[in-house]
């Protein structure tokens, strides 16, 4: 499933384009549902059942249940919607950034601060 067009390659970055939007639709739709507190509670009660209700494929479900953000992105997840899933587990953007870049949260925060000193 791909548009087949030439794409600009940006290291460590995937543009959320039509190919990704098609691939990740079910996963993102589930994350969009987490705007509702009732849905967040329902998810926490039965995570796998909730994933099934939204029709996640095996790759997406595995990524969600193991809470691996890079895997969710590879499965078509979009950062804006995935943030709502992260919120359920009390993860902030530094937790998520640290996980994706393979450093501790303190190291990730230090890197942000260092970007301001350049």
């Amino acid at each position: 499933m791909s548009s087949g067009k030439q794409k600009r390659v940006i290291p460590g970055t995937t543009l959320f384009d039509g190919d990704m939007a098609r691939k990740g639709y079910a996963l993102n739709k589930m994350c969009f549902s987490f705007n509702s507190a009732d849905n967040r509670a329902e998810f926490l009660k039965d995570k796998e059942g909730y994933c099934d209700k939204y029709g996640l494929n095996a790759e997406q479900k595995q990524a969600v249940l193991s809470l691996q953000v890079l895997d969710m992105l590879a499965a078509g997840g979009n950062a804006y919607y995935l943030a709502k899933l992260g919120g359920i587990f009390g993860l902030d953007m530094q937790d998520i950034g640290a996980q994706q870049t393979g450093v501790t949260k303190d190291e990730f925060k230090a890197k942000l601060v260092a970007a301001g000193r350049k």
Partner: protein, 279 residues
């Protein structure tokens, strides 16, 4: 005719809402960010806008991938904030100005911007927090509002040049509205940041400072870059600078900088603030 008094661009980050709710403005982490605002408060007290046209991007509160407009304009009597999923306090509703909304819609479509119109529209942190920063603690917000939403979520995004022209069309629409209303245009988002992927945490201070500098007197400078180039330079969410550029497009004639501030980081974001006055 209505008068555009100027434009203000500012970063939006959900955690600003939590900082406000917990009164952390003077906390060492937040102080360099919040200290940017008093000069803007003073300027707003001087120019006294009646209405704010707020150019922002939705983060999955009102719009989802089922229907994703490139440009959308609110046309409601009132706009509600709602739970975005993070437990950040929801702010009270904002008063709309349906006369200006429909005047803008008529004028924009006449000028070949075929926008989506929204008589019901939830507004997320990208709309509410800038108003909260500019008019702190004032509920209801003392200005009437018109939300203008730009897609920065699903590519393709509108080009920088298109956004600037959209802003120009918004400016012409406001200035052709037969009232004596005073309007401030607000653009929210950016500056450089990237939330996702192995490049998460990316920030580009050099580019941000150049962008803020050029935006005042040479706003077309940034239109030399394609959207993917802007993502490479500013991050996947840094591309929200398109909202700043649209706001700047609405300002015509002599534009001068009133006040600017830049601080790294708040959350994962390089925060920027830029107020501009129209002579």
């Amino acid at each position: 005719m209505a008068k555009i008094v100027g434009g203000i661009n500012v970063t939006h980050v959900p955690y600003i809402g939590r900082a406000i709710a917990n009164n952390l403005q003077q906390d060492p982490y937040w102080k360099p960010f919040f200290d940017g605002f008093p000069p803007v408060h003073q300027w707003l007290a001087k120019v006294k806008p009646d209405i704010a046209v707020v150019i922002y991007n939705d983060h999955g509160l009102n719009f989802f991938l089922d229907k994703m407009p490139t440009f959308a304009v609110g046309a409601a009597a009132e706009y509600s904030n709602a739970d975005e999923g993070w437990g950040i306090p929801t702010l009270p509703p904002y008063i709309g100005d349906q006369d200006l909304s429909w005047h803008m819609i008529d004028s924009l479509v006449e000028n070949e911007f075929d926008i989506v119109t929204c008589q019901e529209m939830l507004v997320d942190h990208a709309f509410t927090l800038p108003l909260e920063l500019f008019w702190p603690g004032q509920h209801p917000c003392p200005v009437r509002t018109v939300p203008v939403c730009i897609n920065t979520v699903q590519f393709p995004l509108p080009t920088a040049a298109r956004c600037f022209k959209f802003g120009q069309a918004i400016g012409r629409a406001i200035e052709s509205w037969d009232t004596d209303a005073r309007v401030v245009v607000i653009g929210t988002g950016g500056l450089s940041h990237q939330l996702e992927g192995r490049r998460a945490g990316f920030i580009n201070k050099e580019f941000d400072l150049m962008f803020m500098d050029k935006l005042v007197n040479d706003p077309l400078w940034v239109t030399r870059y394609s959207v993917p180039e802007l993502v490479e330079l500013t991050g996947t969410q840094g591309v929200e600078l398109l909202n700043w550029l649209t706001c700047r497009g609405a300002l015509s004639g002599d534009v001068t900088k009133v006040h600017g501030n830049y601080h790294i980081p708040i959350s994962n974001t390089a925060s920027g603030l830029l107020a501009m006055e129209v002579a």
